[in-house]
C-alpha cells in the first residue's frame, strides 16, 4: 500500500527539485488567456462611472443622456447611494455597457450626477484625528521595566497607504446562456467567487460557472468579485449578451484595495548586555473609512516581557483597505526592526549581534539565530558591516540593514479529485487557482511523484468552480491545501490501481510501489508492469478518488504544517548629496518546511523581494489635501521598481532535516515582510540618521539628513 506521507529525500523524483513552470510557454507566447483576453460572440464592453469627489452627498444619478447614445445597450446605477454619500474618489456610482469600449467611455462622460460636496477627511498623519475607541493591549509592567533599562530609545516611523497594483486589473467577463451564467474572472477564490454575485443576480450558485485559468496577481485584493464583478453580472443578465468589465488603471489604484498606512512612536529599552526588556508603542493609520488595525507589536520578538500597544484608527475618504500580502506584517516589521536597530545604534552595538542576543524573545530562537548567520554569511556581513554612521565621509555611503519576520502558512481546506484512466492518462480536478505562483506545476509534481510518473503524464485541471472545492489563495495557504489534498487523492487512486495490478504480479497490493513509470514489487523491482499496462487492466472504468485536506489531520500526518521565520539583509548606497538610495544587494533566508518546487519557491521569494523593494523605495498613494483626490492614480507617479532598480537578489531556502519532515508550508507572504525594515535600516546604517518614513525617496532622505545635521 502506498502511504500518504511524503517520500524520503532519496526517493523523490520531482518533489523539491527545480522544476520549470508548466505554464511558462503559454504565458511567454501570449496563448494564456487572462480575463481581459476573453472575447465572446456579441460581447459588450462595460465601463464604470465613479465619484470624482472624495466626499459628497449623491442627490441624483441621471443616465438618460448616456442611455440615449446609440450603441449603449444597458446601464446600472447604485440606487442605494442616492440620498447617501460617496465616501471616496473612485467609488462606483453607475455603469454602462455598450457595443465598443470607446462607446462605453463616451457614454460614461454623459452621466450626470448631482452632488453636494461634503468636508473631506484625508490626513492620516495626526493621531488626534482618530475616531472610535483606542485599541489597547499590554503585558507585564512596561513603565517599571523602562525605569530599570540601561538604554532607552524613542523613535517615530511610518509608511503610507499603497495599493496592490496587480499587473492584471480587476474584472471579469459574464455571459448568460440557457439560464446559466458563465463567468471568466480574475480571482484568488475560484470555488466561492460566485457567492455574492448569486445573491445579487438571483441565479442559483449551482447555475453559475466560473473559469479562471490564469491570473495576473491579486496579493489579497481579489478574494471577492468586488462591485465590478457584481455589476458586470447584473448587466449581462439585463441585456442577455456577454459583458466584459475590467477596471482601468486609475480605478485600480483608487478603488481596488489599499494597504493601510501606519505611523507611530515606539519606545524600546534594553539592559546593558543588549537584552530588550520593554517596548511601548502608540500606532495610528488609515484603511479608508474603516478597516485599520494597528500593527501587532512586539513583532517576532513576541516574548519581550513588558510591553504596551495603543492603536488609533483614523477614518479617511480613501478607497477601502483589502488584505495586502501579509496584512499588518510589513508595518509591524518596519516599526519593530527600526526600533531594534535604533537602540542598537544608540548603544554602539553591532546590529546582527543585537538581534542574536534578542532571539531569546522569539518563539524559535535557534531558527532565527541560524537564519541570521546564514544571511550574514551570504552578504559578507563581517567584511562590510560597520556601526551606524561609520561608513566613511564620502558622498556615496554604503550600509547594511536587517529584518526578521514570521508567518503561519497552514494549508487551507481543499478537496482534489485524481482520476487514473484505463489508457494510462492521469488528471486532477481541483477548484483552486494559480495566481502565477506555480500552483498548476505544484499539482503536477505532487501527483506525478505519488504515481511514479513524469510531470507531463499529469493533466492538471484547475480554475473552475465545478471542480472540488478549494480554499481562497490568501495567507500563504494554497500550497499546503493543494499539496495535501492531491497527495491524498493520488495515493488513494494508486492503491486502487495496486488492487487491480496485484494479481497480475502475483503479490499482495500492499507489496507494490509506483516508480519510474512502473508498478512493481517493492522488494523485487524486477517484478514489474508498465504503468500503461497496469491501467489497461482497469477495464472500461477509470479510478477516481478524492483527497481532502483537513488541516489538523494533515498536520498530524506530517503532510503540512504552519509557522515559519525569515531573515533578510539589505546592502544599500546612499548618495549624501541627492538622497538617492540605490539597492546593491538583498539576501533572503527562509524556511517553509518541505519545498514542493525549489525553483518556483525561489521565484516567489524574488517576487516578494521586488514587491518589498518597491514599497521600501518608491511606492506611495498620494492624495491631495484640498480635494482628497488621488494625484498619482497612474503608472507614472505611482512608482514601482524596474529591473535595474532591484540590485542583486540572493535567496537561500532552508531545506533538509528539520524542515522536510514538517511537511509543506506556504511561502506567499513571508518574503515581502522584511524588505521595508531591512532597507530602512540599511539606509540608517549608511547615512547615520533614521529616515523615519517609507518610501525612501530623495525628499525624505534629504529631510532626515538635514534634521540630523548631516546636511545643511
Amino acid at each position: 500500500m502506498a502511504a500518504p506521507q511524503w517520500p524520503e529525500a532519496k526517493d523523490r523524483a520531482l518533489l523539491g527539485h527545480r522544476v520549470t513552470r508548466l505554464d511558462g510557454p503559454v504565458k511567454a507566447s501570449g496563448r494564456a488567456k487572462y480575463a481581459y483576453d476573453i472575447n465572446r460572440p456579441e460581447m459588450l464592453y462595460a465601463k464604470l462611472f465613479a465619484s470624482p469627489h472624495a466626499a459628497a452627498k449623491i442627490v441624483d444619478i441621471d443616465l438618460s443622456a448616456a442611455e440615449a447614445l446609440p450603441g449603449v445597450k444597458t446601464t446600472w446605477r447604485d440606487e442605494s447611494v442616492i440620498g447617501g454619500e460617496a465616501q471616496y474618489q473612485g467609488q462606483v456610482l453607475a455603469a454602462i455597457a455598450a457595443e465598443t469600449e470607446e462607446l462605453a467611455h463616451d457614454a460614461i462622460r454623459l452621466v450626470k450626477v448631482t452632488y453636494e460636496l461634503l468636508p473631506i477627511k484625508i490626513n492620516d498623519r495626526d493621531p488626534a484625528l482618530a475616531e472610535g475607541r483606542d485599541a489597547s493591549k499590554d503585558e507585564g509592567d512596561p513603565d517599571a521595566a523602562f525605569a530599570q533599562a540601561d538604554f532607552v530609545h524613542e523613535g517615530e516611523y511610518g509608511l503610507p497607504v499603497v495599493a496592490h497594483c496587480c499587473l492584471e486589473a480587476h474584472g471579469q467577463v459574464a455571459e448568460m446562456r440557457d439560464g446559466d451564467m458563465y463567468i471568466w474572472p480574475s480571482t484568488q477564490n475560484v470555488s466561492r467567487y460566485v457567492d455574492s454575485i448569486a445573491e445579487n443576480v438571483e441565479i442559483p450558485a449551482s447555475q453559475m460557472h466560473v473559469d479562471c485559468q490564469y491570473m495576473g496577481g491579486g496579493f489579497g485584493s481579489k478574494f471577492r468579485p468586488g462591485r465590478w464583478g457584481i455589476i458586470c453580472s447584473i448587466l449581462a443578465k439585463q441585456c442577455g449578451r456577454p459583458v466584459k468589465l475590467m477596471l482601468d488603471r486609475d480605478q485600480e489604484l483608487m478603488a481596488a484595495g489599499n494597504r493601510p498606512s501606519a505611523f507611530g512612536k515606539v519606545k524600546i529599552g534594553a539592559k546593558e548586555d543588549g537584552t530588550v526588556i520593554a517596548l511601548d508603542s502608540l500606532l495610528w493609520g488609515t484603511g479608508g473609512m474603516g478597516g485599520f488595525r494597528e500593527p501587532s507589536l512586539p513583532y517576532v520578538f513576541t516574548n519581550i516581557p513588558n510591553w504596551r500597544r495603543i492603536g488609533k484608527r483614523i477614518p479617511t475618504n480613501r478607497g477601502g483597505q483589502e488584505a495586502w500580502r501579509a496584512p499588518g506584517h510589513p508595518q509591524a516589521c518596519l516599526f519593530m526592526m527600526s526600533a531594534m536597530e535604533d537602540l542598537a545604534a544608540a548603544m554602539k552595538m553591532d546590529a546582527l549581534e543585537f538581534y542574536k542576543i534578542n532571539c531569546v524573545h522569539t518563539d524559535k530562537p535557534e531558527l532565527y539565530r541560524e537564519q541570521l548567520d546564514i544571511a550574514a554569511e551570504l552578504i559578507g556581513y563581517k567584511q562590510k558591516a560597520h556601526l551606524r554612521g561609520e561608513g566613511g565621509t564620502g558622498t556615496l555611503r554604503r550600509g547594511l540593514g536587517l529584518g526578521v519576520h514570521m508567518w503561519g502558512g497552514m494549508g487551507h481546506p481543499a478537496k482534489c479529485d485524481v482520476t487514473i484512466h484505463p489508457d494510462g492518462s492521469v488528471e486532477t480536478r481541483i477548484g483552486t487557482q494559480d495566481l502565477g505562483t506555480g500552483t498548476r506545476t505544484a499539482l503536477a509534481i505532487v501527483v506525478g511523484e505519488t504515481l511514479g510518473l513524469p510531470l507531463e503524464a499529469v493533466t492538471v485541471n484547475i480554475g473552475r468552480n465545478a471542480y472540488p472545492e478549494a480554499g481562497a489563495s490568501g495567507g500563504s495557504t494554497t500550497i499546503g491545501g493543494i499539496s495535501a489534498s492531491s497527495r491524498l487523492a493520488a495515493t488513494a487512486a494508486l492503491n486502487a490501481l495496486f488492487e487491480v495490478a496485484a494479481p497480475k504480479l502475483g503479490v499482495a497490493a500492499d507489496a507494490l510501489e509506483a516508480k519510474g513509470g512502473l508498478i512493481r514489487e517493492a522488494a523485487k523491482p524486477a517484478n514489474a508492469i508498465a504503468w500503461k499496462d497496469a491501467c489497461g487492466l482497469l477495464g472500461p472504468n477509470p479510478i477516481t478518488k478524492q483527497g481532502e485536506n483537513v488541516p489538523g489531520e494533515s498536520q498530524k500526518m506530517g503532510l503540512i504544517d504552519a509557522g515559519v521565520g525569515g531573515c533578510q539583509i539589505a546592502d544599500v548606497t546612499v548618495d549624501m548629496e541627492t538622497g538617492v538610495v540605490t539597492l546593491n544587494e538583498m539576501v533572503a533566508v527562509q524556511d517553509c518546511g518541505l519545498i514542493v518546487n525549489l525553483k518556483l519557491a525561489e521565484s516567489q521569494m524574488h517576487g516578494g523581494l521586488i514587491m518589498g523593494i518597491t514599497y521600501a523605495l518608491y511606492e506611495e498613494s498620494v492624495y491631495d489635501p484640498t480635494t482628497g483626490r488621488m494625484l498619482n492614480a497612474d503608472m507614472e507617479f505611482y512608482r514601482i521598481a524596474g529591473l535595474k532598480d532591484i540590485g542583486k537578489l540572493k535567496v537561500h531556502m532552508m531545506t533538509g532535516k528539520g524542515h522536510d519532515e514538517r511537511g509543506v508550508i506556504g511561502l506567499g507572504e513571508p518574503p515581502v515582510i522584511s524588505p521595508g525594515a531591512a532597507i530602512s535600516n540599511a539606509v540608517a546604517n549608511a547615512c547615520g540618521v533614521r529616515v523615519p518614513e517609507l518610501p525612501l525617496t530623495p525628499d525624505r532622505v534629504i529631510a532626515a539628513l538635514r534634521k540630523g545635521g548631516v546636511l545643511s
Partner: protein, 330 residues
C-alpha cells in the same frame, strides 16, 4: 478621447493651412508619446489632429561647417545614433539616455520633447494647467513635491519637463518655426519657452498656427554636460537636472551657460551660476560655488525644499562632468 479629424498633410504649406488660429482647434502630432495620453485624458479635445509624419525635410541630422541642423521630427533614437552629434554634445546624449525607456526614445521626437505639456499631477488629473478649484490654488496648498522652486511667483507652479531644452539653451541653439503664409522666424532656444499667465496659454512662444521645424546647433567645440538627479533607472522623470556648456581654453571656463531643468515653468537659465565660474578654473571648489550660485534666490514651495539641494548638486556635477573631472566616490 473625443472623435477628431485626422490629417496627414504631405507638405508644410498644407499642414499650416490645417492649423487653427486659436489653441484647442487643432493639435500637432509628432511621435504622439504625449499627445495620445493627453487626448485620452481629455486634457486636449481638438477638432483636428495634424500629423507631421509625411512632411518631407522635417527629419534627420545635417552636419554643416558651423554645426548641426536637426529636423524637429527626428526621433530621439536617431539623435542618439548620430555619432558626430553625440561626440560633440554629450549633454544631449546623456539627456536622451536619461529618458530611460527604449520605446519612448524610439517613438519620441526632438520637437515633441521641446513642445510636450507639463506633467504636473494636478494638470494631468483634470484640474487645469494652473490647478485652481473653487478659487483655491491646489499646488500651493497641496502636494507640490515635484513642482517649481524658481519662477513660481505667478500662477504657474508646474515644471518644464523637456529633457533636451536645458542642453539646447546652454549650447545656444536656434529654433526655426514656420507660420501662416510660410513665414519663417528664428527663435533663440532661450526665448522659446514661456510661463503661462492663464490656463489657456501654452508653454512656448509658438502661435497655434506655427510649426517648429528645425533646430540649429552651433558646434564650437565647447565643453558640455548634463546631470540628472534620478531615482529609478527605467522610464521616469528626474527630480532636477542641469546642463552646462563653456569654452575651456588654457584651463579657464569662458562663455559659461548653466541651465536647469525640472525646477521652473521654463528651463531655468542660471546667470549667477555662470558668472560664478566665468573665467575660472574648474575644480571641485569652483563647481560647488557654481552650484551654490545656481540656487541663490530659489523660492521653494511647502513641500519641495529638497529640490534646492538636488538642483545645487546637479549643477555641481554637470560642471565637473563637462570639465572631465570624475565625481568623488567613496
Amino acid at each position: 478621447m473625443n472623435a477628431f479629424e485626422y490629417a496627414r498633410p504631405q507638405s508644410l504649406e498644407d499642414a499650416l493651412a490645417l492649423l487653427g488660429d486659436s489653441w484647442g482647434e487643432a493639435e500637432i502630432l509628432a511621435g504622439g508619446a504625449d499627445l495620445v495620453t493627453a487626448l485620452k485624458q481629455h486634457l486636449v479635445e481638438p477638432k483636428r489632429v495634424v500629423s507631421l509624419r509625411d512632411i518631407p525635410g522635417l527629419s534627420g541630422v545635417e552636419k554643416g561647417a558651423n554645426g548641426f541642423r536637426i529636423g524637429a521630427m527626428t526621433s530621439l533614437a536617431a539623435l542618439l545614433e548620430d555619432a558626430a552629434l553625440c561626440a560633440a554634445f554629450p549633454s544631449m546624449a546623456s539627456a536622451i539616455q536619461g529618458v530611460g525607456s527604449r520605446q519612448m526614445i524610439t517613438q519620441g521626437t526632438l520637437g515633441g520633447d521641446l513642445c510636450q505639456r507639463p506633467r504636473c499631477w494636478y494638470f494631468r488629473t483634470g484640474h487645469g494647467l494652473l490647478a485652481v478649484e473653487n478659487g483655491t490654488p491646489l499646488v500651493e496648498n497641496g502636494d507640490n513635491r515635484y513642482h517649481a522652486i524658481f519662477g513660481n511667483a505667478g500662477a504657474a507652479k508646474f515644471v518644464s519637463v523637456s529633457s533636451l531644452a536645458p542642453a539646447l539653451i546652454a549650447l545656444e541653439a536656434t529654433f526655426t518655426a514656420v507660420g501662416p503664409g510660410g513665414k519663417t522666424r528664428e527663435i533663440a532656444a532661450s526665448d522659446f519657452f514661456h510661463t503661462p499667465q492663464t490656463g489657456e496659454e501654452r508653454e512656448t512662444v509658438l502661435a497655434p498656427n506655427e510649426i517648429l521645424t528645425h533646430i540649429a546647433l552651433p558646434d564650437r567645440g565647447r565643453k558640455n554636460a548634463t546631470y540628472e538627479v534620478r531615482h529609478r533607472h527605467g522610464l521616469d522623470w528626474p527630480y532636477a537636472t542641469a546642463s552646462v556648456a563653456f569654452d575651456y581654453e588654457g584651463g579657464r571656463a569662458t562663455g559659461v551657460r548653466v541651465v536647469l531643468g525640472h525646477v521652473a515653468p521654463v528651463p531655468w537659465v542660471a546667470g549667477a551660476a555662470a558668472a560664478a565660474i566665468e573665467g575660472k578654473a574648474i575644480d571641485p571648489a569652483s563647481a560647488v560655488a557654481c552650484g551654490e550660485a545656481a540656487v541663490m534666490g530659489a523660492t521653494p514651495l511647502s513641500g519641495n525644499g529638497y529640490k534646492v539641494q538636488l538642483a545645487r548638486t546637479a549643477v555641481k556635477r554637470a560642471v565637473l562632468a563637462a570639465a572631465g573631472i570624475p565625481l568623488e566616490v567613496s
